[in-house]
């Protein structure tokens, strides 16, 4: 039976994870820490309002006798923190304080860090899929991605100084799902999707439920090391836009900064430099280590993740699928033909499944 401390418990993923752990029989007590009280229900988990940027966190760990620390306190967009400076403080100084507290603690025996695949950056010189050992050719230079690179650096340093503590770093692909708020969910909720003209990014996603389950498994069993976590398969950005029933707005790359700035100032969505590079070149992960060493296969693949996001979140589609199908059928009827879709509907062959998911 273990006592788990979760940092960054007040945002959606943190609260959900606290609830999930609270329900887990292997965990006796869950202590959530954050700067602001949680908006959502955290179940039987206890909440301690403490800023991980100051040394109070050491007292919390000591008084609770926490033996497992889950660090989810790295925030991804300045909009969430109220400015880039605060965001960097929370991410970098917060991690340093938390790790300092862990290093002093006599009880902590495991550290689980929620990191991101954006530490790999995105660029034209990168291989098609990143393994955990791939050296990024284009190191992220700003925002969340750079913070995450620094956070991982401190975590590695901690691992060297406390070799007795099991350290698990999970690099998650972009998270989407019915509830989570991320830069990507904000992006796909735009009525028009700005894309980079002449580029079509490969996107790999992970469903929020799979993210929570991976973290839970890292808590209840020991999996030292770094793991990529992502659903199988990729979607092209243009394809995702069409699945979402959204119209893409290709912007020539010299003007991307300008247009991104408009969207940012209008408060729609956060277009960081890293986000733009991701939307230009895309990124895919090799998850062999996750499935073979860690022993977990995400239940949602990339496409299912995206479809679950679209089904629950994007109700107002500008180009609904039904209208396109109706148009196709109208045109075919006018020409006196039956469409392939109708033929499939009338004799539900397994082929139609293959076409959708093949």
């Amino acid at each position: 039976m273990s006592v788990v401390l979760v940092s960054g418990v007040s945002r959606h993923l943190g609260s959900s994870f606290a609830r999930l752990l609270d329900a887990d029989p292997a965990v006796s007590r869950v202590i959530g820490v954050d700067v602001v009280p949680p908006r959502a229900d955290i179940g039987g988990a206890e909440f301690v309002r403490a800023d991980i940027r100051n040394p109070i966190i050491a007292k919390v760990i000591a008084s609770a006798g926490a033996d497992i620390v889950v660090h989810m306190g790295v925030i991804s967009t300045p909009l969430q923190a109220g400015g880039r400076l605060t965001m960097k403080d929370i991410n970098v100084i917060g991690t340093m304080q938390l790790l300092a507290a862990c290093q002093k603690s006599a009880t902590v025996r495991k550290l689980v860090v929620k990191s991101t695949s954006s530490v790999y950056g995105a660029g034209p010189k990168d291989p098609a899929k990143f393994t955990e050992d791939t050296e990024p050719r284009s190191q992220p230079r700003s925002g969340w991605a750079k913070d995450s690179v620094e956070v991982e650096g401190y975590v590695r340093g901690f691992g060297r100084r406390r070799p007795d503590v099991t350290v698990t770093t999970l690099r998650f692909a972009n998270v989407l799902g019915p509830r989570v708020e991320t830069a990507m969910s904000g992006y796909f909720s735009l009525p028009l999707l700005p894309t980079v003209l002449g580029h079509d990014a490969r996107m790999q996603l992970v469903h929020e439920d799979d993210l929570l389950e991976t973290l839970r498994q890292a808590v209840v069993a020991d999996h030292p090391g770094t793991y990529n976590v992502a659903g199988d398969g990729v979607l092209m950005l243009s394809q995702a836009a069409r699945l979402a029933g959204r119209q893409a707005l290709p912007v020539p790359s010299p003007m991307v900064g300008l247009v991104g700035g408009w969207f940012r100032r209008a408060g729609f969505v956060d277009f960081s430099t890293e986000q733009v590079r991701f939307l230009t070149y895309g990124r895919a992960l090799d998850t062999t280590r996750l499935t073979e060493d860690f022993g977990f296969t995400p239940t949602y693949n990339t496409r299912e993740t995206f479809e679950s996001f679209v089904a629950d979140r994007l109700v107002d589609r500008t180009l609904p699928r039904e209208r396109i199908v109706a148009f196709e059928q109208g045109l075919a009827h006018a020409l006196g033909r039956r469409t392939v879709a109708e033929l499939h509907d009338s004799a539900a062959t397994p082929d139609s499944q293959e076409v959708r998911h093949g």
Partner: protein, 356 residues
């Protein structure tokens, strides 16, 4: 070296093979993207080769295709379905995103229906490509095709992909490895990913070979494609032999491939180096027609092409760890390079003329 095994150009055997492969292509058998009705093709092909086409065209099963419920299977397996319905279906799935790409970004259906379709007239009627030795590419399993590079823009690579896709009995997709300039260039990079190509680096080469794909590599890179017309058919340095190491690690055979004809498409008689530096390009070609004739200068000269795939060089008999033996890697690289160079000389001797 290789006593001239004379293969006369345009013999009957070759025409039969061409006709057979055309017929095979007409019936088509590449999964969901198969139905590819192109009725008016047989005739111009016969004219182009100057031979009466043997009576090979089967009754066009795809034409009347009555769409009863039992026609469903036929609509999918390539024997039936009207072109119009298939195109509507294709367009609808494009607009609703109901298609699949692999992890590299390869969009098999788009490649077959749009990208390669745009190149087919060029292949059949402009360059009148003759492909030999396709049987050297295995029907299944990984293989590494290594070819000479020429012609200012990578038309030779595109034609090779089309040759392997359309004329190989197993309709294999050639997955090529390109320079990073390809992937940073707008449109070009996007199309390259969708056509199944990826960055020339060992992790990607080994990933594709492990996935039992046919991988194509042009080790001369920009040195080959951007060389002067005076240096035509002289192989440039073959990189660092990374492709050989990848083949050794994956135990995949290396298939040398010689392409004759591409050098004459855009004869590069000058290189505007200052302009190239300004545009951060590896070279800026000046040909007899480009840039003098503007867009018209982009039309390639109609040289007649031969693409010959040589005997596979097996790599599976080397011990594990052979890829880390630089001497072996250099020797194999030289062997592949020499084979391609000798094949080029042989094909050039046999060639009757550049354009005929």
């Amino acid at each position: 070296m290789a006593d001239a095994r004379v293969i006369p150009l345009g013999d009957g055997d070759r025409n039969a093979r061409l006709a057979a492969s055309r017929a095979a292509r007409k019936v088509g058998a590449t999964g969901p993207a198969a139905p590819r009705p192109r009725k008016p093709r047989a005739k111009p092909a016969a004219e182009a080769t100057g031979y009466a086409e043997p009576d090979q065209s089967p009754p066009p099963a795809h034409l009347p295709a009555d769409h009863g419920d039992d026609g469903v299977g036929a609509g999918r397996d390539g024997a039936g379905g009207t072109g119009l319905v298939d195109w509507l279906d294709f367009l609808r799935r494009r607009l609703t995103g109901e298609y699949a790409v692999d992890d590299i970004g390869f969009d098999a259906e788009l490649t077959d229906k749009v990208l390669l379709a745009a190149l087919r007239p060029l292949y059949d009627h402009w360059f009148r490509v003759e492909t030999r030795g396709l049987e050297n590419i295995p029907d299944t399993g990984g293989a590494l095709v290594v070819a000479n590079h020429s012609g200012t823009i990578a038309l030779d690579a595109a034609m090779t992909q089309l040759a392997v896709h359309d004329h190989h009995p197993a309709h294999r997709d050639l997955r090529m490895l390109g320079a990073n300039l390809v992937f940073s260039t707008p449109f070009v990079g996007e199309l390259a990913r969708k056509a199944g190509h990826t960055l020339a680096c060992n992790p990607d080469a080994e990933r594709l070979l492990a996935d039992e794909q046919v991988v194509g590599v042009w080790p001369e890179g920009f040195k080959g494609i951007g060389k002067m017309f005076a240096d035509r058919y002289k192989l440039q340095r073959f990189g660092r032999g990374g492709f050989v190491a990848a083949a050794l690690r994956s135990r995949a055979p290396i298939i040398p491939c010689a392409i004759v004809g591409a050098e004459e498409t855009y004869p590069m008689i000058g290189n505007a180096k200052a302009l190239a530096r300004l545009l951060s390009l590896p070279y800026f070609p000046i040909t007899p027609t480009f840039p003098w004739l503007g867009p018209l200068g982009l039309v390639p000269l109609p040289s007649r092409w031969v693409i010959e795939f040589g005997d596979p060089i097996p790599t599976d008999h080397y011990p594990a760890g052979a890829a880390d033996d630089p001497m072996l890697v250099f020797n194999l690289t030289d062997q592949v390079r020499e084979t391609i160079q000798q094949t080029l000389y042989r094909l050039l001797v046999q060639r009757r003329g550049v354009f005929v």
